[in-house]
Symmetry: C2
Subunit: 305 residues, 2 copies
Amino acid sequence: MPNPSDVQLVVVGSVGLDTVETPAARRADVLGGSVSYACAAASFFTRVGMVGVVGSDFPDQGLAVYERFGIDLNGLQRAAGKTFRWSGVYERDMNARRTLSTELNVFAAFQPDLPAAYRATPYLFLANISPELQLHVLGQAERPRFTAADTMDLWIETARDSLMALIAKVNMLTLNDTEARQLTGESSLVRAARTVLGWGPDFVVIKKGEHGSMLFSNSGLSVLPAFPLEAVSDPTGAGDTFAGGFMGFLAREGRIDEAGVRRAMAFGSVVASFCVERFSLERMQELTEPEIRQRFEQFRRMVSF
Amino acid sequence: MPNPSDVQLVVVGSVGLDTVETPAARRADVLGGSVSYACAAASFFTRVGMVGVVGSDFPDQGLAVYERFGIDLNGLQRAAGKTFRWSGVYERDMNARRTLSTELNVFAAFQPDLPAAYRATPYLFLANISPELQLHVLGQAERPRFTAADTMDLWIETARDSLMALIAKVNMLTLNDTEARQLTGESSLVRAARTVLGWGPDFVVIKKGEHGSMLFSNSGLSVLPAFPLEAVSDPTGAGDTFAGGFMGFLAREGRIDEAGVRRAMAFGSVVASFCVERFSLERMQELTEPEIRQRFEQFRRMVSF
């Protein structure tokens, strides 16, 4: 049995069963949710623990998948009821998606608590859940070295005060371009990120989907295109995969400076580029470290001049 | 008097007087057109000659601006009538623009001819005019070392055969992401570019506006984000500025291989990033070589990991 105190990174968020339709195909009730993607991605770099909740209908197969990734499941709660479900459609433009339905189910009453063995975790990623819950979990981490939080439009609209309190307390905020504009009222992403930096975090990452990502800190600015792909099957989870790969790499290397964080961002991009090649966690289930390393080097060549 | 036989790069395209409205401001009858932007950008690197047409209403001030850039004007035709005019509006999303009016005027009968002294030009950029005219000019170049052509949706729809004939004859095609998809029927830009490479060019550049650019060849693939700016005043001419800077740098360095072309692309991006900071050629009129060099180094740091 793995020892939960080995865990270097804890990820808190949603576990879901997704039904996804893209121009490529349609899949029903596949493994999804932010922690599924983020933990799978992080597992290539470090020992990661998952904090989330599943219902009594959650398939054993799903748990077996997490275990094959080597994810520690001591923080995964099982509740009576149905697992969180989401369904959505991607049109030809894979950057735009339409949600068909969201059933919170057991996720509605999710009270994330860090198992005792997780409270000393050096790295903590608060994936997209309500900022109140993110703050609750953050309060349980005893002496984290590096904390990151993700958010979404819903919380910017409905829980702004808690979100602002959270932003002031984490080392890094990740959000997409639309959310960055919405949160700050700035149409320029550079200005938006500077505004957020002014609220406290050391780093702000703006995710732009197929257009890459930007990393801002008080000492610099880094921009990365996305790794160009011939075909994208399913963009679901790309942002969480990016963040999970990022945090996993950071946890492994332990180098939290501009250069270390940039490399983490590149590794996050690379793992995300694999993720979207197939549905759900399918591609990551077959992914190997040499493949990641090879694409990382290829990526570095692509952006060098 | 400069000697037209010094010219290393010839650019053929439109000269216009633009009326542009952006969220920042509105300007009427300012210098525009593809050759204005491309020649101004190229002038930072090499001796460039402009082939275009202006009407009798074209202001002497405009010619004086070109001359201050050191642009050779021996190929600039003066015709009786009004200069080409375009007006358009950019909404909040600077990547999308709406054309309000286009008056071809003297541009309707434009018959581009290379002055005798230009026929031996080693570098030739055929900016966006009809592919028939681009082919006509290409036929006049005696032994070009490197030729590039730009195009637009109109020609893809209405002059496909000529465009295909042109593509087969140039070293490089530049087009934007929408045009690349439209031209090839491929939604993946990687596949679209590979398709175009199969038609003959050595290089294909796909321009993605604020999201950067991609360079494809049979030996590699390079991706660049755009240089991130706090504010964009007017994106008009960014693509032509990019191409002009690219070709100017290539003409100066004379190194037409993967590495040389990548550096040219980065310099093109840098000059374009200055261009959009203000309207028309305003920013380039004040731009200095040290500023370009400094931003180039800054850009290189931003994308390195």
